[in-house]
Each structure stands twice: as structure tokens, then as C-alpha cells.
């Protein structure tokens, strides 16, 4: 047995190049390997490995915890500072409704227009001007 090279060739050409010798080895290594098709089992294992690595590499995402309704409501109105403001406004509204402070009466009357314009002008010292305007010639 030899490497598969014809020895008589080498004898007739004793200076056979290294390239020629190597080429025989490279050709052998390039020859399609017997039964070189991957099996279905192998391919399935490769795909399972790929999925396993993907699962291991995936960032750990914590599932969003269910928040109680009152926490969600508090967040919706802007948190505790907003809630405190709303509470103050509510208490003030109830107090005004129940007690009816006299200091607010004037504003209420003015707001509802129960004074006529002449009385209002008189209150502010504009009586004469109004009279002039009203044709008091």
C-alpha cells in the first residue's frame, strides 16, 4: 500500500513537486464524507439548543402585578399631593354650603345681579355721572 500516488510516476519524475503530493491529500480531505447528510434527530437537537439559548438569553421580564383599584385611582388623579388639594377644596365647599359665611353674601348678591346699576354707581360715588348720562339735563 502507498499514499495512493503511483510510485512509477515518482520514479520517472523524481522531482515531483510538493504541491502535487499535497494535492492528493487535499483531494482526499475534500471528498464528500460518506453519509454526510445530517439526520433529522440531529437537526431537531440543534433547533432545541437554539431555542434553549434564546430562552436563557431573553431578558427577565417581571409580569406586571395587578394593582388594587384605589392605588390605580390615586395614580390617575396625580398621587397624594393632588388628593390633598382635592380634599381641601371639598371641605371648603361643604363649609361654605353649610355655614354660609356673611362675608360671602355681598359677592353672592353681586354675582346674581340683584343691585341695579344706579345703586352700584352710587356705592362707588358715580351717581352724578350716571345722572348726566341718563339725560338729567
Amino acid at each position: 500500500m502507498n499514499w495512493g500516488f503511483r510510485m512509477d510516476d515518482k520514479m520517472t519524475n523524481p522531482h515531483q513537486s510538493d504541491d502535487a503530493m499535497l494535492q492528493g491529500f487535499f483531494d482526499a480531505a475534500r471528498a464528500p464524507a460518506h453519509d454526510a447528510e445530517p439526520s433529522g434527530d440531529f437537526m431537531a437537537r440543534m433547533l432545541n439548543d437554539a431555542f434553549d439559548v434564546q430562552d436563557a438569553q431573553a431578558p427577565v421580564v417581571q409580569p406586571a402585578a395587578r394593582r388594587p383599584w384605589h392605588v390605580a385611582l390615586l395614580d390617575a388623579v396625580g398621587g397624594w399631593p393632588s388628593l390633598a388639594g382635592m380634599a381641601v377644596a371639598t371641605v371648603a365647599g361643604v363649609w361654605i354650603g353649610v355655614v354660609g359665611p356673611s362675608a360671602l353674601a355681598d359677592f353672592a348678591v353681586t354675582g346674581t345681579g340683584e343691585y341695579d346699576s344706579a345703586a352700584l354707581a352710587s356705592d362707588y360715588g358715580l351717581t352724578s355721572g350716571f345722572e348726566t348720562l341718563l339725560g338729567g339735563s
Partner: protein, 196 residues
């Protein structure tokens, strides 16, 4: 979403999708490159079971490097070849350390000559001798020679894979071939192969 896998950019995009957990990208990459890794290993080893183990190891390394894969890097095929080749070389070395490979395998192959099997034995003898000789080369010379003369990659592809210039690849392959020829010629004389 369908994926192309024709260019380096396609490959980088697929690996990016893989890293983000895209199952379809995993399927496309597996179907495209697992047979490639297996084929490389089978050509080097000729042993289906070992070739499957080595290809599996190489593919795992590809998956783990996916998040860090940079576009413009070597193609997956040349990257895989380097990994498979190094794993095969490690396997040969381990076997040799345990007295199970190298010259022992070659002697066994040569001794088992029987009618009708000579061509196959010659083929195996060449593979064993070539692998043993390749193991004597420095890693980059070995990879350059294997990729150029066995797997048929172009010099620019090898240069990209080895992160060097084309001229350096030419130098690596030339020096590698000279060293291989010397080792194989000595082995031929040492084992006293005779015609017939």
C-alpha cells in the same frame, strides 16, 4: 417575517433577531448552518457521532456569540469553520494523549489491508496522515491551509475570518504548505509505504 441569508448583512441581521428571541431567525440559521458545521466536522473526522457532537458544540458557540456579533465581521460560514476546525484539532489531541489516535490509527488502517478495501484504506490513511500533519502547524497556518485548500474559501474570505490582510493569508498558506509537505514526506519514509 421571511429572512434572507445571502450576505454578511443578512447574517448579522439574522443573528440580531436571534438574540432578541425571534424563533423564526433561530429556525433559518439552524437550517442553514447546522448542516454546514456538521459537514466540516465529517470531512475532518469521518465519524458521524463525533462530528455531530462537535457541530453541536460549534452551533452553541454561535448562539452564544449572537448578541455580540458585529456586522462587517467574517461570514458565519468561515467563523464556524474556525470553531469546528479547532474543536476537531482538540479532539485529535485528546485522543492522542490517550493513545487512541495519530500514528496508532494510521498503523491500524494500514495493517487492516484486505481485498476490495484498499482504496478506502488509502483514503483513510491519507486523512489520518493529513490530520496528524495539520496538527503540527501553528494555528493560523493550519486554518489558512485548511480553509484555502480543503474548504475552498477565497483569500479575502480567509483574511476576513482571520482578521488579517490577503497578503498575510498568502504567506500563511505558503509556509503552511511547505511545512505540511515536509512532515508528510518524512511520514511517508518513516512508515515505509510501498507500492501495491
Amino acid at each position: 417575517m421571511p429572512f434572507d441569508c445571502d450576505t454578511a448583512e443578512d447574517e448579522a441581521r439574522l443573528l440580531m433577531h436571534f438574540a432578541s428571541g425571534d424563533r423564526n431567525a433561530a429556525r433559518v440559521l439552524t437550517q442553514r448552518f447546522a448542516p454546514v458545521a456538521f459537514g466540516y466536522a465529517m470531512r475532518r473526522l469521518g465519524d458521524r457521532s463525533v462530528a455531530e457532537d462537535i457541530a453541536q458544540d460549534a452551533m452553541l458557540r454561535l448562539w452564544k456569540t449572537a448578541p455580540d456579533w458585529q456586522e462587517g465581521r467574517a461570514r458565519i460560514s468561515t467563523w464556524l469553520y474556525q470553531v469546528v476546525s479547532n474543536l476537531c484539532t482538540d479532539w485529535f489531541r485528546r485522543r492522542k494523549d490517550y493513545g487512541q489516535a495519530g500514528d496508532d490509527d494510521l498503523s491500524q488502517v494500514v495493517d487492516e489491508t484486505h481485498a476490495g478495501a484498499e482504496a478506502q484504506l488509502q483514503h483513510q490513511a491519507r486523512l489520518v496522515a493529513l490530520n496528524a500533519a495539520l496538527m503540527t502547524l501553528p494555528e493560523r497556518q493550519r486554518l489558512a491551509v485548511e480553509m484555502r485548500h480543503i474548504e475552498g474559501f477565497s483569500n479575502p474570505e480567509i483574511a476576513a475570518a482571520l482578521d488579517t490582510r490577503v497578503e498575510a493569508v498568502e504567506s500563511l498558506t505558503a509556509r503552511g504548505k511547505r511545512a505540511l509537505a515536509k512532515v508528510l514526506a518524512e511520514k511517508q519514509d518513516e512508515l515505509g509505504f510501498q507500492d501495491g
